[in-house]
């Protein structure tokens, strides 16, 4: 039994896959969708779903909804009646718990493992919080899958699909658009784009804004606005009515936003709101949002060099995609090629359940030891779901003392009983007590097998485990990482550990050096290793997601010490960091505290002003340079700025979600400005590449080892390609490699030490510790005179550690203490 959970902004769903069919588990009210709403009453009792939603108008202070958009933040929701406060992941944990209770009632056991879906653009902190929600709900094992992949698996299940797909997933709070490719039953995410702050909720807010404009036109109610915290209660009621009308207008041509006694005017008269709204008017109201959604689709296609005609089918996911204007607008872009028979409301949960089978994540509780069969213990490894019609099966006998390995095994097909031309197969056992067999599968169905073991004389040997099942279907190997993860180095570069698209789990180690000394046994003196997520080669352009600290060392740790940093990302998006420092024999470990940073409204006001100023400066430079691409990169900025200013006004009214949205908008604007700056900086970068190739080609040929020459040759070719493609991040990466190889080669030149020493002597005033630098320079000169080159190199490396990156670079790189 495999469980998939769609933990949505508005509603959540749980589906079960039994190896044959996927079914959605209904809640106690018989509904497939459970509202993602939590209420805590005055006695501290927690209720979830429809029961909690009923109190959203009468007791809004103790009911919390739409908390998915706050996942990964430290914003706790207060429940004044009970005095309780719950973090977003705790609220989600209660929703998952309620879904699991429904599953227990339906299946007869409480699931112990499940796959939970998350939006494709969720970053590590949000994924981590989602994994934590599952654990809080009592799951032992939680695996995450991106919603569009889950939707595509569900849509493509049991179909011979080939080609490119587009999944348009408009949920309550987020828009995810994904381009997928199916080849020979294997699903691959080509790319995705989206907007973490565009969903059904935003459509509702657009209608609320329209309704407020109508109300203000007819009544004197200046206090009724979204920037006023005292208007919250009335606005909650108005929003509920607007949502109901918007949903109704998906089926009918005309409806009314009706809220009796919404508020009082300045004279104290109660106001009954009754605003007629037609489908055409609604389409005009939400039009700008639909344009925004359409732009995301076009951007995704353009950046992958595809045309709408290249897309075989579009899959709609999420309740808001029932909106007729949206459906027709997006559907028409693709000539009406919309996948049929897909339920937008439950498809993600269904896909997640199918993915649980791919991952072998059985939800059933472990079998008690007393019920285990007797016989030789055999471990069988096989894919639970695969697109391969002839996968491998590996078995290994786990022998107790006195037991001997069988002579051979027979892999027998049990269900379906026969496939043309394929029968049972006998496989010999290796000296390791293992076997590798290849089995043939019947397509798009469950295939059951049995392993029998035999002694050399042909006598059957009893086995404790002998049956296994493989389902043939669409397979996805592992959930891919949505954004690149790496370490910020002191020179403001990013050392990439895991590229975007890396399957999880993933683990990698790289070697770094410290750029500052750390005093022994001091808990105030720390060396920071910032972990960042993003696509820029420059550390500061990425988002800081956590920091590992080296603090409380048992011996003085000099600058320039070797640090081996390992990052391990598990399947639930949790990031484990480990730094081994061989010089002092200490290891520092941490589970990075991944949180979405939440800025105060005051900080956002300052940030917004700074962003406006930066845009003006870069735009001026762009126009002066006359480079069209730089000007174009800033095209989207004014619209986003308007949005940020408007949303900031709402955030001033206490809407935490709006504050998060402003942060996102500001980083999106920054990305555009960064792009414009990169375009403007291209001539310098290109010239540097030319200079590097001229300088280092000769040096590496003369002084480099054969490995260095080979590596340099390859880096030079990759750099030439990056120059031809005008790809700044790739060129920067290759230049970094060329610098490293070139300088390492030059170190073999006996005269290099002398010139390095000259440079260091002339810049000694810039050293962190001038006295120590002078002492080392003196020693190095003495060693040079007695031609002790080994000693000179050692002293030079100590000296370089006293010349760290500039203060500005370190500040930008989140105070990184490594390079």
């Amino acid at each position: 039994m495999f469980i998939g959970i769609d933990l949505g902004t508005s509603n959540s769903t749980l589906a079960v896959f039994d190896g044959e069919a996927v079914t959605v588990v209904a809640n106690s009210l018989g509904e497939n969708l459970t509202p993602s709403v939590v209420r805590v009453d005055s006695r501290g009792n927690v209720s979830v779903g429809r029961k909690a939603q009923r109190f959203i108008e009468t007791d809004p202070g103790n009911v919390c909804a739409e908390f998915k958009r706050l996942m990964g933040t430290a914003d706790a929701q207060q429940f004044p009646a009970s005095g309780k406060s719950l973090l977003p992941e705790e609220l989600s944990g209660h929703v998952v718990s309620a879904l699991l209770a429904n599953a227990r009632d339906s299946l007869g056991f409480l699931p112990r493992a499940a796959v939970i879906s998350t939006p494709a653009l969720f970053e590590l902190p949000q994924n981590h919080a989602t994994g934590k929600a599952g654990k809080l709900a009592g799951l032992d094992d939680v695996v995450l899958i991106q919603e569009p992949i889950a939707a595509a698996i569900a849509a493509g299940w049991r179909q011979d699909l080939q080609g490119t797909w587009l999944v348009f997933d408009l949920g309550g709070g987020t828009l995810d658009v994904s381009l997928l490719e199916t080849k020979e039953g294997r699903l691959r995410v080509v790319d995705h784009a989206g907007d973490n702050f565009l969903g059904g909720k935003d459509l509702d807010h657009a209608v609320v804004d329209w309704a407020l404009r109508q109300i203000h036109r007819h009544f004197r109610v200046p206090d009724l606005n979204r920037a006023n915290p005292r208007a919250t209660r009335s606005l909650v009621r108005l929003k509920a009515a607007c949502e109901q009308t918007r949903v109704e207008l998906s089926r009918v041509g005309e409806s009314v936003v009706a809220v009796p006694g919404l508020c009082s005017d300045l004279e104290g008269n109660a106001i009954d709101v009754e605003l007629p709204l037609t489908r055409a008017e609604l389409e005009a109201v939400v039009g700008p949002l639909l344009v925004r959604a359409e732009a995301v689709v076009l951007r995704l296609l353009a950046q992958n060099h595809r045309l709408p005609a290249d897309v075989a089918q579009v899959v709609f996911v999420g309740g808001p995609t029932f909106t007729p204007a949206l459906r027709s607008r997006i559907g028409e872009m693709f000539g009406g090629r919309v996948a049929e028979g897909v339920d937008p409301m439950t498809t993600v949960a269904r896909g997640a359940a199918l993915y649980a089978a791919t991952s072998g994540l059985d939800a059933r509780p472990a079998m008690p030891a007393s019920t285990a069969r007797s016989g030789l213990s055999l471990r069988i490894e096989h894919p639970a779901v695969t697109a391969d019609a002839e996968p491998f099966v590996v078995g290994r006998f786990l022998l107790a003392r006195g037991e001997t390995s069988p002579h051979h095994v027979r892999v027998q097909r049990r269900e379906p009983p026969a496939i043309d031309g394929v029968g049972d197969q006998d496989v010999a056992i290796s000296t390791e007590g293992s076997f590798v067999a290849q089995v043939a599968l019947a397509k798009h169905r469950k295939n059951c097998f049995r392993v029998s073991a035999f002694a050399p004389d042909g006598k059957a040997i009893e086995l404790a485990t002998s049956d296994f099942t493989i389902v043939h279907g669409v397979s996805v190997a592992d959930p891919p990482l949505a954004r690149t993860v790496g370490l910020a180095c002191a020179d403001d570069s990013m050392q990439t550990y895991f590229c975007k698209g890396t399957p999880l789990p993933a683990r990698r180690m790289f070697v770094h050096q410290t750029v500052k000394a750390v005093a022994a046994r001091s808990h105030d003196d720390a060396l920071l290793i910032p972990v960042v997520q993003g696509e820029s080669f420059r550390a500061h352009r990425n988002r800081l997601i956590g920091t590992l600290e080296i603090r409380g060392v048992n011996k003085d740790l000099p600058a320039g010490s070797r640090v081996e940093v390992t990052l391990h990302l598990d399947r639930s998006g949790q990031l484990h960091t480990r730094a081994d420092v061989p010089a002092i024999g200490q290891t520092f470990e941490d589970v990075v505290h991944v949180l979405v940073p939440s800025a105060s409204v005051e900080t956002l006001v300052v940030q917004l002003a700074a962003t406006v100023k930066r845009i003006e400066e870069v735009r001026k430079r762009a126009f002066q340079s006359g480079v069209a691409a730089a000007v174009q990169a800033l095209d989207g900025a004014p619209l986003l700025l308007d949005d940020a200013e408007h949303t900031l006004d709402i955030a001033k009214g206490g809407d935490r979600d709006a504050a998060q949205r402003v942060e996102r908008l500001l980083s999106e604007i920054d990305a555009g400005v960064d792009e414009a700056e990169a375009v403007l900086a291209w001539p310098d970068l290109d010239a540097e590449a030319e200079r590097c190739s001229l300088l280092y080609t000769g040096l590496v040929a003369q002084w480099g080892t054969s490995t260095e020459q080979g590596l340099f040759d390859q880096a030079l070719r990759a750099a030439t390609q990056a120059r031809a493609m005008r790809n700044p991040p790739e060129l920067e990466r290759q230049l970094q490699a060329m610098h490293a190889i070139g300088k390492a080669s030059y170190c073999r030149n006996p005269r290099s030490s002398a010139s390095e020493l000259d440079w260091l002597s002339s810049h000694v005033v810039d050293a962190l510790n001038v006295a120590e630098a002078n002492r080392l320079i003196e020693h190095a000169r003495a060693a040079m005179q007695r031609e002790d080159h080994f000693c000179v190199r050692g002293l030079l490396s100590q000296l370089w550690s006293l010349f760290p990156s500039s203060v500005e670079e370190r500040r930008k790189s989140f105070g990184s203490g490594i390079r």
Partner: protein
């Protein structure tokens, strides 16, 4: 600088020693179906604890093979653009060795 350079080279080498074609022990001309199947076989062998799967040869000697490395290698080769890059480096390695 010398240490920093040596670590940069070391990290560069680490990346190249994790070339997907080396990790999976498949030819640069292998079809994606064969690559997926090889990866599935290696993952099953690693999960079963078979010694023959836990190392792979590189021009600089044997290296440890982990399930994470196999998954990363497969994922890299699924993406045609990334695969092209790895083919480029793998051919370079073969010429160098």
């Amino acid at each position: 600088m010398a240490i920093a350079q040596s670590s940069a080279i070391h990290n560069l080498l680490l990346r190249h020693l994790e070339n997907p074609f080396l990790v999976l022990e498949v030819a640069v001309t292998a079809e994606i179906g064969d690559i997926e199947r090889q990866a599935q076989k290696l993952l099953a062998m690693l999960a079963a604890g078979l010694v023959e799967a836990d190392r792979y040869p590189t021009p600089l000697g044997q290296r440890a093979r982990t399930p994470e490395l196999v998954r990363m290698a497969t994922s890299e080769l699924r993406d045609p653009a990334r695969r092209l890059l790895h083919e480029f480096w793998a051919c370079g390695w073969r010429r160098a060795s």
